[in-house]
């Protein structure tokens, strides 16, 4: 195997899924000839045809709503939402139809739909192109929500999501698409399991998607000061893999959750709530959160300050150790 970027790994994962199952379709805006604005679907329409890689009209509710119908007809649609901020016109179809139809039909109608969302900031974009809406979906029963952070996971997780009979909201950290190449693991890791990506014993850093790299960099920096930070890549936001988190916190006694999404009512809140409930006596310090602020995503000239960065993470580490 050769190393590839996350964008390429996703492309190969999609290709593999399409080869393995003729019912897999790709649909979205500009996914055909253009190969998507990030080129994640590059070349797929050429090889699988316009009926399997579908340039849809410009309407997100239409994309998701027709995917529901396609799923009922036995297909496995993979919908691309062009940017995070454009998922909201399709929100109703996601929360009221995709998430509920299996339940409504008492298990008789499955919704094997994957909704790919390039998410997060750090690319100097304009409004609505840098958002992190994962908590909305995680709060919605009936959906599964995952985020990849590296090429190998991207390759495997997209295939696992497509073959899932439950609908999966698949978050792709857009600033990592072309960030670094790496090899693909020979075997997939379970889709809904978190992974310790750097062991440590002083403080646990929990991150997903774009913040995993940031957490690892922070841990490397902290190591220079003699602090051993454990970094967990959450990978699955819903369901949460609490055993892995609790095992780590049981050892370190300290947890910091890092995400780009605004602070309040975000993923960090749920993790903090569960950890204080399930590891009440193990915590040496409160669970802390390093996140975006409770503001709209700022103009891009300010995004590096607004987004969690090494300084803010290490500051939280110090706070945690200060308890």
């Amino acid at each position: 195997m050769t190393a590839r970027t996350m964008a390429k790994a996703l492309n190969e994962g999609l290709r593999k899924a399409m080869e393995d199952d003729p019912k897999v379709l790709i649909m979205g805006e500009d996914v055909g000839k253009l190969g998507g604005v990030f080129r994640v679907t590059d070349g797929l329409q050429k090889d699988f045809g316009e009926d399997r890689v579908i340039d849809t009209p410009l309407a997100e509710s239409g994309i998701i709503g027709t995917a529901v119908g396609l799923a009922m007809r036995g297909y496995r649609p993979v919908c691309e939402i062009q940017f995070d901020g454009f998922v909201f016109p399709g929100f109703d179809q996601i929360v009221s139809q995709v998430a509920k139809m299996y339940n409504r039909s008492a298990g008789l109608v499955k919704m094997p739909i994957t909704i790919r969302i390039p998410f997060g900031g750090g690319i100097g974009a304009v409004e609505h192109h840098s958002e992190s809406p994962e908590a909305y979906f995680a709060h919605t029963a009936g959906l599964k929500v995952v985020a990849c952070s590296n090429p190998s996971d991207a390759y495997w997780m997209i295939q696992q999501s497509i073959s899932s009979d439950d609908p999966v909201i698949f978050f792709e950290p857009k600033r990592r698409y072309h960030a670094a190449k790496s090899e693909i693991d020979p075997e997939p890791y379970p889709l809904h399991q978190a992974r310790v990506v750097r062991p440590g014993r002083d403080v646990t850093l929990l991150a997903y998607g774009p913040m995993v790299a940031m957490a690892l960099e922070s841990a490397a920096a902290a190591a220079e000061d003699g602090q051993e930070l454990e970094v967990i890549d959450l990978r699955s936001i819903s369901p949460l893999d609490m055993p892995t988190v609790l095992e780590s916190v049981g050892r370190t006694g300290r947890l910091i959750v890092v995400h780009e999404a605004p602070h309040s009512f975000g993923v960090g809140a749920e993790i903090a709530a569960r950890v204080q409930e399930q590891a009440f006596y193990s915590l040496e310090a409160p669970v802390l959160r390093v996140s975006g602020f409770d503001t709209p995503y700022p103009p891009s000239r300010l995004e590096n300050e607004w987004l969690p960065n090494i300084d803010r993470i290490l500051d939280a580490v110090d706070q945690s150790l200060g308890y």
Partner: protein
């Protein structure tokens, strides 16, 4: 108060094959070859469907249902459309298509369960080729368009093989025509030339809002702006509904693309059993529409023009009584779902956390039951 320009022609140019007086009329575009026996069969559908509705309303009054959405007045539109479907066609209802459900062999008890609160769907969409009721207005029209995309991809249009070529029928109301989803479904259907027929029951009202709140032109005209044909039918005429829907479905199966049918009809009852029409419409309006009753005209035809004897009506009366009994007794006997069923069918592959919630919940409910016992 501002004056708004509002001009909906009450009944332009609409296809009618059976007058309110029970007279057969011909329409050049929609020739209908139909035997008297077939008309009698439609009559049976209409009568039985109305009976289900009547019983359901009574059950609601008796506290057996939380709510019921009556189809009174819309039987012809629904039965005509429902009988135009082939078994392998697929239909997507709103929450009022009890008449179509009947044509798709869905047990009325499944529908009652939804309004009683014992289920959220109640039957297999795949088995009946009829989707579960959809309550979010308009959402199902996109599902229909998507299903039709699947049909196209299965190569099940335009082959000329009647067992293979498949059409999709999407129901929605006059109010729903304003929703983004419905208009997006028109976009997808037109752009993809999809085998889908949109069947709009314009029953003049969206709860308390008259159709003029939604549109100042007849709704069937909407289609032309998207690039496919639209037409209006007398929605209280089961023959018109059958003939026009049949033709549109045939066109769909033959890869001729989508059609919009506006069935001009009337919601004789309140929106649901919770609604109070006196707040927003005149009783005289319903009186006028009574003269166009969808069942009376077929009966008039059968009595006057057709070879249908009185025993047909007597037998139907018996059948109707039996059905009523089935509905009444069956409704009362519908089992309450078990508490743990809440946790079933949320996911195909349920997460541990949810199984834990289920376990705690089941334990808790039984501990409470023990205490109470």
């Amino acid at each position: 108060m501002t004056e708004h320009v509002r001009a909906v022609h009450p009944e332009p140019d609409m296809v009618q094959l059976l007058t309110p007086e029970g007279q057969r009329v011909e329409h050049p575009d929609y020739p209908l070859e139909i035997t008297d026996d077939e008309i009698a069969a439609l009559y049976r559908d209409l009568v039985l469907v109305r009976r289900i509705d009547t019983e359901a309303i009574a059950l609601q009054r008796q506290g057996e249902l939380g709510l019921w959405a009556s189809l009174l007045g819309q039987e012809a539109a629904q039965v005509g459309a429902g009988r135009a479907l082939k078994k392998h066609d697929m239909a997507f209802p709103t929450y009022r298509e009890h008449g179509v459900a009947w044509c798709r062999d869905v047990d009325p008890l499944a529908l009652l369960g939804l309004f009683r609160g014992t289920n959220l769907g109640g039957f297999s969409p795949h088995e009946h080729n009829f989707n579960n009721y959809t309550i979010v207005i308009g959402a199902q029209t996109l599902h229909a368009a998507g299903y039709a995309m699947g049909v196209v991809r299965d190569g099940a249009v335009g082959t000329g093989d009647p067992e293979r070529d498949t059409a999709v029928l999407a129901f929605f109301g006059d109010g729903a025509s304003s929703q983004g989803d419905v208009n997006e479904s028109f976009v997808f259907a037109a752009a993809g030339n999809l085998p889908v027929v949109f069947f709009c029951q314009n029953n003049q009202w969206a709860i308390s809002e008259p159709v003029t709140t939604q549109s100042r032109v007849p709704l069937y005209k909407r289609a032309s702006g998207f690039g496919f044909p639209g037409m209006r039918i007398d929605g209280n005429d089961v023959l018109a509904s059958l003939a026009v829907t049949r033709k549109a479905l045939n066109d769909a199966r033959n890869a001729q693309g989508p059609t919009l049918i506006e069935a001009f009809t009337y919601r004789m009852n309140p929106h649901t059993t919770n609604d109070d029409t006196r707040r927003y419409r005149l009783g005289s309006e319903a009186e006028t529409w009574k003269l166009k009753d969808p069942i009376a005209r077929v009966k008039a035809y059968l009595l006057r023009e057709a070879n249908v004897g009185t025993e047909f009506f007597a037998e139907l009366e018996q059948e109707s009584k039996k059905l009523a009994e089935h509905v009444r007794a069956g409704c009362r006997a519908l089992p309450n779902p078990t508490p743990e069923s809440v946790f079933q069918n949320v996911y195909v592959d349920a997460p541990d956390e949810l199984l834990k919630q289920r376990g705690e919940f089941v334990d808790f409910v039984s501990s409470i039951e023990e205490v109470n016992a």
